[in-house]
């Protein structure tokens, strides 16, 4: 039935759908990619390959739009990003190659499991606004990873440094792999690792995570593009819709209840994860 729909209806549906997704994502504090891939692969007729390709570009355009402001305000840190991005982007290439080589049913099932895991992380992970780091570890001191940013809400400058750099780098290898394999932005994992593991203040973690996506997703996006897994009629309206939605979302953010929105997004993620899992297992095709 849906397959018989005129071609021009699809970009319009995608644009409208991703516009609302963009609003929801901003209000819930998640990137668009993590919602886009499971929902579009679960409920639209497109093959998972093109949804993952589009998902990477969706996350990439969002990160490109937000990155400059975050960098200039010192809320994203280039010194913190560069070593982590090198690891994550290398592994995201490997993830993309593995994801494109695996049979679709396996990738779809693993996507479902991953999305359910992300929902679990979102429910259970606590966030610490200003984690206490007594002393930076040896790696972070050698690399000069520390910073100062101006905290508007407190009208004062906050100094920060990081620890547990090596285990965090290992986790970023895993995050890159997942991002490339499933076409997900990786903000859901970047923020807890940067904040809880390394000890960066929450705002620096969120800002650096968003900026980091512009590098991690670029390398995986190239693999999907060069393998022919990017269809512009799916990708471009999704990128434009989610960007416009994010723009509107920032403006309605003040009027919404963040806790309620976050609960809705987690519920949607659990539903989309189950759908993906059951689709991959052939139970609900």
């Amino acid at each position: 039935m849906l397959e018989a729909t005129a071609w021009w209806v699809w970009p319009i549906i995608l644009f409208v759908f991703t516009f609302f997704l963009g609003i929801l994502a901003v209000m819930a504090g998640v990137g668009g990619g993590v919602l886009f891939v499971p929902l579009v692969s679960g409920f639209f007729p497109f093959h998972l390959d093109y949804v993952r390709g589009a998902g990477l570009f969706v996350a990439l355009t969002g990160a490109l739009a937000a990155g400059p402001g975050l960098l200039k305000r010192g809320l994203a840190n280039l010194r913190l990003t560069m070593p982590l991005a090198l690891i994550a982007s290398t592994c995201s290439i490997a993830g993309a190659l593995v994801g494109l080589a695996l049979p679709t049913s396996i990738t779809q099932t693993l996507l479902g499991v991953t999305i359910l895991f992300i929902s679990f992380v979102m429910i259970t992970s606590k966030r610490v606004e200003f984690p206490k780091v007594e002393k930076g570890d040896r790696i972070s001191q050698t690399l000069g990873i520390y910073g100062i940013y101006y905290e508007e809400s407190m009208d004062r400058e906050i100094e920060w440094k990081v620890h547990r750099t090596l285990p965090s780098m290992i986790l970023f290898a895993f995050i890159g792999l997942i991002a490339g394999m499933f076409g997900l932005g990786a903000g859901w994992a970047n923020v807890p690792v940067l904040n809880l593991m390394m000890g960066t203040p929450l705002k620096i973690a969120a800002g650096t995570s968003k900026f980091l996506l512009s590098i991690t997703d670029t390398s995986a996006a190239w693999v999907y593009l060069n393998n022919g897994s990017v269809i512009p009629l799916i990708t471009i309206p999704s990128c434009l819709g989610i960007m416009l939605g994010s723009y509107v979302g920032v403006r309605v953010l003040a009027k919404a209840s963040p806790k309620m929105i976050r609960t809705i997004v987690i519920a949607v993620l659990i539903f989309a994860g189950l759908r993906s899992l059951l689709k991959g297992l052939g139970v609900w095709v």
Binding site: E3, A4, A6, L97, L100, Y150, I215, S219, I236, L240
Partner: protein, 138 residues
């Protein structure tokens, strides 16, 4: 401007500026090429009306049925509206590479050699990803 601005290192500002202008150009380029494509002002390599029957298949089958080349093979087909859109998307993938190349001289001047290595390695990784040499398939 104020003390806050001075605490952001030079390479970070340079990176941010290129990202800003690159992002704006990229998004406008993407919107324009898409409008050209869907308006039918340029012929499409794969007719949009055929896509609903094609996008239900995996990449391997899609490429087999459409004859779209992989790697950089599509660059020779940019006169087609749908392929022109791939140029716009590829442009988004180039921005980060340009940002990294631009900060390398600043890092060299600061004698920050560890970060020079990080930057050069990242450029190599991104160029490798962009090269089209890495092919996967079902």
């Amino acid at each position: 401007m104020d003390g806050r601005r001075r605490k952001v290192p030079e390479e970070q500002i340079v990176y941010a500026n290129i990202l800003y202008y690159g992002g704006i150009v990229g998004i406008i380029f993407m919107a324009i090429t898409f409008a050209i494509y869907v308006s039918g002002n340029l012929p499409a390599y794969v007719a949009p009306s055929e896509l609903p029957e094609l996008w239900i298949h995996d990449t391997h089958e899609y490429l087999e049925k459409t004859g779209i080349p992989t790697g950089w093979g599509w660059i020779g087909l940019v006169t087609y509206g749908d392929i022109l859109n791939l140029v716009a998307l590829a442009f988004l993938g180039v921005i980060t590479i340009v940002c990294y190349i631009a900060v390398i001289p600043i890092l060299v001047r600061k004698r920050d050699f560890i970060y020079v290595i990080f930057a050069v390695a990242e450029v190599v990784i991104l160029l490798l990803a962009a090269s089209g040499l890495l092919q996967a398939g079902h």
